[in-house]
Subunit: 148 residues, 2 copies
Amino acid sequence: MHKRSRKPARRGATASGLVFSFLETAEAVEARLEAAVNPLGLSLAKLAVLHFLADAKEPLPLSALAERQHCVRSNITQLVDRLEKDGLVRRRADSNDRRSVRAALTAAGTRAHAEGMDALRQVQRAIMGPLNAGDAESLRAALKALGS
Amino acid sequence: MHKRSRKPARRGATASGLVFSFLETAEAVEARLEAAVNPLGLSLAKLAVLHFLADAKEPLPLSALAERQHCVRSNITQLVDRLEKDGLVRRRADSNDRRSVRAALTAAGTRAHAEGMDALRQVQRAIMGPLNAGDAESLRAALKALGS
DNA sequence: GACCGATCGTTCATTGGTGAACTAACGCCT
DNA sequence: AGGCGTTAGTTCACCAATGAACGATCGGTC
């Protein structure tokens, strides 16, 4: 037809693609992190559990892990199942509360955590490398605006 | 010990938290999109399949769907299983290639696609609302830098 | 001390994704 | 025509996450 009268109405056009670009980039970034820890026999989910355990410096109840991981309890049950099978974590009974089960790091778990965090730090730097200070700052601002 | 000699070495410090902020925000955004289409009996994965089918305007081989979805073929097999159970898609044999199976939109599928895309557009605008033009532009730039 | 509501971990079914192994069919190629 | 490498879809086992249902236990409160 003929040209648009009035405003270009690009309002929606800018936004639409951007959301999915955002998600695709996030997916790619996550894949890079995952790929960095996979060779160590770890996943991001497993490493996160090890990290909370190492951070607390004492065995934590599974519900505490669920809370920090922002996930449901049943997920932690299975994650700890696998970590236990890997020999990185051990379930210990809580003497004060017989409902509670605490996850404790094994020696292998402590080692795996150190290695995993190391690999993670490296790839994190690699990812953020191409961003100069200004880029980083405006990205931070955009994230804050999005996470309303 | 004593203060750092030389450079502040903030280089890593800025980057480290940022990667995970990025991923967390992405997760939150994705959850909002998911929540927008869930009430319609859809998921983002299902809607994407419907979208490719509607876009092509003809039944597509499952491998074509896998390619566009950037996922493995076995995933599409199961996704189409569920979509077929929902009555949104039908499997049709390909007369030219007997190995191939094409996914075809049903009438219900076409309807669901329209509704889903509608809901999606709305929530997309809501998400990008708090970003002014400058924010959007610098976000775009940052994404380009990250998606190396 | 007995009941009752909340909390803790587990189990199960479902969704979504991967990768390996397998069968059927296609296309060459000589 | 026969043989062989490739492609298409499925199946299976696994990882990660959700949500509902359930049994055990803990804390009041009555």
